[in-house]
Each structure stands twice: as C-alpha cells, then as structure tokens.
Symmetry: C2
Subunit: 257 residues, 2 copies
C-alpha cells in the first residue's frame, strides 16, 4: 500500500521547482531502475507493480531494489497514473539527485565535454546524455534554458547514462572560464562549417549544441572557436540535434582511440 | 472561418485507419509546411493563425500556401486544440499521402536503404526518415508493427524529409525478395557485431533497425547478413535507435562519396 504522503511526493516531483527544492527525482522503467539500483545514488523508495514478478528480469530488479530501499507494491493502473512517462513498465523509483559541479568533471589529456544550450525537448536531452556517455565524454554541461536533466522523461531517454557521468548545470560565464582554463577548443555544429577532419582535431574539445529550432543563441555562437559540418549528400537541410551531436561525439571518440 | 466538416476531418486524421481510408495526412509546424508547400504533394487545404503574418518567414509561407490551396484563418488556441503535435506554430496543412511502393525506390550502383522493424516511437521514426534523407538513402521501408509514417508526429520529426524520398510499407516476404533481386547485403546493428569497416562495405546495403526496447524480431534478425557494431568507449550499453542508425547511415554515405 502506498501512503498519501508518498503519492503527494511523487506528484510534486513532476515539477522542476519541487525537484530542485527537495533534491529528489523520479526514475521510471525497468532499464533505468536497473541502472539506478546498480549505481551509488541514494534511493528513497520504489513502487513496483505485481506484474514485475512475472519475468526473471523483473524479479532480479525487485531483489536488488529491496536490498537497497523500501519497495511498495502498487497495481499497474495506479502506478501508470502516478508516473511521469507513458510506459513506466511497472516500476518507479524516487532517488536523490546526484550533486554535480564543473569541478567533478574528470579531465584527461584527451577529453570531450558536451555543452547543451537551451535544449528543450526531454527526449533530445536524454539522447544527448546517453550518446555523451556511450562515446566517453567526460561530462554534460547544461546552460540556462535547457529542460531539467532530472525531468523523468529526460532520465528515461538517457537510459541510465544520467547515473554514469556528471551532468552539470552552469552559467555561461563560469563555463567559459572553466573551458579556457582547461584548454578546451569550443566546437559548434553548423551547415557552413568545415567538414570534420580527425587530423586537425585538438585533444580537448567542448561540443556545443543548441536549441532544436533556433540553434545556438548569439552569446554562445560567439564562443565557438571552430564551426564543424557533418557532410550530408542527401536533401535534408539539417539533422535532429541529438543525431548531429552524436555523430560528432562518435567521430571524436574514434580519433582519441 | 473553419467549417465543422473541416474540423471533423482534421480530428479523423489523427487516427491511422482514417488516414489510410482517406489517403490524407496532417502536416504541422512552419518548417514542415514550407517543405510541403515546395513539394509536388497534392494539398487539400491549410489552417493558419493570424500570428503567422507577424514574421517575414510566416508571410512567405502564407503566400506560397495561398498559391497552392485554400487557406482558412483560425485563432491560435483553436488551432492548437485541433493539432496533433504540441506546437503547431500556427500552421496545419491537410495533404494527400504520396503513393509509394518498392518499385519507386531508385536504386543506383551504390545504394543504401533503411528498413524499420517495429519502430514504434513517432519521434524516433521521424528522426530515422530525416537521417536517411540527409545521408542519401534511396528509400525507407517500414515492416508491419511500425508507427504509421503519416502520423503527424512522425511527419513533424522528419522535418520535411517525408516528402523527399519514398517511405514504403512492405510485408517481410516481398521485402526479402526485392532486396535479394537487387543484390542488397542486409546489415543489422548489434553489440556483438563486427566494427564498421569501410573497406569491407558492399555497394548496396539495407540497414535494418528494430524496436526501441526489444530490438529486431527473430524473423528479421534471421535475415541479417552482417551484424555491425558502433564502437563505444564509454559506459552506455547501447544507443538510441535513431542515433545508432544515423551513425551507420553517415558512415555508409562517406564510403560512397
């Protein structure tokens, strides 16, 4: 049984301001819950539908969740009504937002970071975090105007990657200082840019991606040291922002192998 | 003013069965409406909010739409209520679904096609169509179980690419015959596959991508001639389906330059 106070907390955590005040977020879906259960993130409690017991994967997840936190049973329709994503797959976990700051990003000789400027679609931001993780970026930095990284839809689309690398919110001026101190060259994707060239790629690259419709704001565009183009022989004018950034992150990861 | 029959038609077109019966679809948003207005696709009518007149881009769009079809004015809140996407940006067009069959896919000496197997997320399918177009694929083929290519959210995410290349629904057996007749090697993305190698890539490749959660069905997995892996030095287990396919389509397009 779920208490009214748990229910009210979950409803509150659908709102960015409440998440920030409480330092908590919602993680929904089997894959995300598995990754969260295996992470070092502090778990507050979980809700699980009885249907989760029906599969070996579901039973494994329940076992590990129960070792780490209180698991309350809730019928699937009620769980779906409470959830922020469309298909919570019978599991919802309330957990503490990991603290993250620029100082926590571990920079090596060759490092990439991804900077998001006013990326507003939760699916796109989640995909960007997932690709940054897949291609070994040291961190993801969110400038003001981005959707909250701890929005349940972002966490879901990131498929566990939110728990693997620092996802840091920063102001533009502190970011610029940090990037300059650590010798990052700042790249922006642009149709008018130079084609990607592995031989001319520096060891430290910060890739900035902009808003889905409007692109980079003038103040972030002004920071770009190198505009880079992905060659497209077809008719589409541009790529989805998550796809464009993922291709550049992939190419950068290949160069640094 | 909008007649009740127009309104009912738009509501009907939110449903796949009604779109198929009537052979019509909804296109929403400025970019998609622009691409549609510049295509050869038959337009039935358009709705435009007065706010569209406020920008040069909006006025240009209105001018070209008016040359091609009847444009009805509708206030923004009413237009948003009727629309299938969250932000129709003041414009909605009703148009005829282009007829498309495997025979319409123009194959050249070196050709790529993208095959989607049970891709169910509209945003992912739209992104896949957009990337296939960007990287010069000859067509996109949808197997049963995919979301409808003419769903308004798919059309929106495809950003006009739906009007650039054939998007064909096909049964598995007819697809297999067609691919074999034309000498396509069938590729599937897989974590256990071979790393991508441009030197070992044949001239004609059909890339098959599967469902977001479940991957390829056993009957499509059995068709794969070559499992290909995207190297990921980071911690994420896998990529978003749209991202993974886009990276492979990009690499294939580079090889064929």
């Amino acid at each position: 049984m779920l208490s009214r106070s748990h229910e009210r907390l979950i409803q509150a955590l659908q709102r960015r301001k409440e998440r920030a005040t409480r330092g908590l977020f919602l993680a929904e879906g089997v894959r995300v819950a598995e990754e969260l259960a295996h992470s070092k993130i502090d778990l507050k409690f979980a809700l699980a539908s009885p249907a989760l017991e029906d599969t070996p994967r579901g039973r494994d997840l329940l076992a590990i969740l129960r070792k780490r936190t209180a698991v309350h049973e809730l019928a699937d329709p009620a769980l779906r009504r409470l959830a922020a994503t469309e298909q919570p797959q019978g599991v919802l976990v309330v957990a503490s937002e990991p603290a993250a700051s620029l100082a926590q990003i571990r920079i090596e000789t060759a490092s990439r970071v991804l900077v998001c400027d006013a990326v507003q679609d939760p699916g796109n931001l989640g995909t960007l975090i997932r690709s940054a993780d897949a291609f070994g970026a040291a961190g993801v930095i969110l400038l003001p105007g981005c959707v909250d990284a701890w929005n349940a839809k972002v966490v879901r689309a990131a498929a566990g990657s939110s728990f693997h690398l620092p996802v840091v919110s920063a102001q533009l001026d502190e970011l610029v200082t940090w990037l300059r101190v650590h010798g990052f060259q700042i790249w922006g994707g642009a149709a008018h840019g130079e084609p990607y060239d592995a031989a001319r790629t520096p060891a430290r690259v910060a890739l900035i991606v902009g808003n889905e419709g409007a692109g980079l704001r003038p103040e972030t565009q002004a920071l770009v040291d190198q505009a880079v183009r992905i060659e497209m022989p077809g008719r589409a004018e541009s790529l989805n922002v998550g796809v464009a950034a993922s291709i550049l992150l992939y190419l950068l990861s290949q160069r640094n192998v």
